[in-house]
Symmetry: C2
Subunit: 150 residues, 2 copies
Amino acid sequence: MIRMSKETDYGIVVLAYFASAKEGLKQNAREVAMESQLPLPMVRKILKILAREGLLVSQRGAKGGYSLTRGGERISIAEIVTAMEGPLAMTECIEAPGECRHEPVCGIRTSWQKINQIVFQALNNMTLSDLTGPLPGPMGSDPGKLVSLQ
Amino acid sequence: MIRMSKETDYGIVVLAYFASAKEGLKQNAREVAMESQLPLPMVRKILKILAREGLLVSQRGAKGGYSLTRGGERISIAEIVTAMEGPLAMTECIEAPGECRHEPVCGIRTSWQKINQIVFQALNNMTLSDLTGPLPGPMGSDPGKLVSLQ
DNA sequence: CTTAATTAGTACCAATCCAGTACTAATTAA
DNA sequence: TTAATTAGTACTGGATTGGTACTAATTAAG
């Protein structure tokens, strides 16, 4: 199954929450967990990752917390996915070239790279702001470009 | 990690093999396993699924085997993925609406549907023939359309 | 200076999922 | 009738994942 891990899914939910809140809002893990209805230990784990990867800035100590490093319109979904789970790699041969023992006789590795790239671009064309914008309705910073896909 | 399961990956490899062979070629599981360098039991399993899902036509009994039901240019990658693992669902709430307990308070489910759709369209725009075409070099029935994505 | 609150880092665990295998039944060419 | 082959299903060991626990480092406030 081609599926987002729950961790990544939650990461996007958490970031969408920050993006939809007042610009520059700082909140601690407990507050984020409350608001997003996600388990606190999980939220802690995710916030740490997002801070380490530079999508959130953290302040340690009492009255500490997290806030977005940039506006939601400047954070793509692809970037979040990459932060949570490393470079997008839909097959083993994308992530670790040379390790698949079929690689020498596999005629479609080049094609996998293209498929991977297409999916990446699709995720890269959507931003956090697109998620938190007015719903339902047209979405995306450039919906026309996306729709032209079909 | 957003990754194809090995089963799906192998399914695409196997189908690409059929598509690149002589039009209408019929081969049994053993032959396919030999050619594709994949484990025989796995190949058997995959061929069964692809036949059940209508991408391959099977002939049972001695001298039986499998062949493509259509030309490779009429089989999309999205179709293969769907055959191997059911409808593309990047999150639980896509596959089983109503089961995620966060759904009532989740502000981004509609967006997930759009992301899912974009990825699907990306995979739907690429066919088996695109995989087996001349490599290396430009690929796809309409490379320009794909490239315009960036 | 001390304390309490908070993030950072790491290690851990149970449950689920997945790649791969095994076995039996049904079908068919010879 | 036999041998070859696909159809269907069940099983398993190992990897992955969702989630937790614990300790160290940092900092605001009294």
